[in-house]
Symmetry: C2
Subunit: 154 residues, 2 copies
């Protein structure tokens, strides 16, 4: 678990870098990676909801969709999703539908999160598939960037 | 409400026609429409998960995404989603994120549905937005087509 956590820390740096790119573009600063079965970065994206005026252009959706297209498969069984913010219900359900192995996220999101908050998608019996969940990785850095963004908005 | 229901019945016929197209393509038979503010059919799609090998190619996601691209807006505030099957959690959350006015569906889905079953996305306090929900429109026809498909699979 320790080694695994260290790996995650390292990858979260890259997701944070992408989140900063989102910030520079006036987007809610969220970045995501999809890691291949051998833990390499297979897809990367940042939130583009405002730029594309598309409510589905969350960083997570973008990397999941890109990966499915790349490998021409509806299943991402051995892939891991890394994202700076707890996924919303749509993205968590999308990751479930794609059968990702693992979801690693940074900041918790009491308002919009769907894993540890709200519908708690993976904490219910009806759920079809349960990925491994690791939350709070580099939490403070991820949160700090989000706070900075929302303070700027006011 | 009566007039409204009659209208929905009529539109569900078109969604059912799309579901049959999905069936012919070996896809779980689900069809969807997006109705514009003046109740015209603005986008239509059927499930293409197998064809595209993309777990996000649910009929609902396809019409929502198409509509956002068409009007270049992340909000579909006065639009209605019509679909032959109760949306899964991903699609229900996507419709919520896009702020559709209304979700009209045919068959209930106790196993995979996310509105009247499972996470019951719109029955919780944390939910950010509550569209109008009308379920069970032409339920028997929608269900019959799905049953026929799953019997064939066995």
């Amino acid at each position: 678990m320790t080694l695994h956590h260290k790996q995650s820390y390292w990858k979260m740096d890259q997701a944070l870098y992408l989140a900063e790119k989102a910030f520079e573009n006036g987007e809610v600063p969220v970045g995501a990676l999809l890691l291949s079965p051998d833990h390499k970065v297979f897809a990367r994206a940042f939130n583009q909801v405002e730029t594309l005026q598309n409510p589905f252009a969350h960083a997570e959706m973008l990397v999941l969709d890109e990966a499915c297209r790349k490998i021409k498969s509806k299943r991402l069984l051995e892939y891991s999703l890394v994202v700076t913010l707890e996924p919303c219900l749509m993205c968590a359900a999308a990751a479930m539908n794609a059968r990702v192995k693992r979801i690693i996220f940074g900041a918790y999101d009491p308002k919009g999160g769907g894993i540890e908050h709200g519908a708690r998608i993976f904490s219910r019996q009806q759920t079809l598939y349960y990925p491994e969940i690791i939350g709070g990785i580099q939490e403070q850095y991820c949160q700090k960037l989000l706070r900075k963004f929302f303070i700027q908005l006011r």
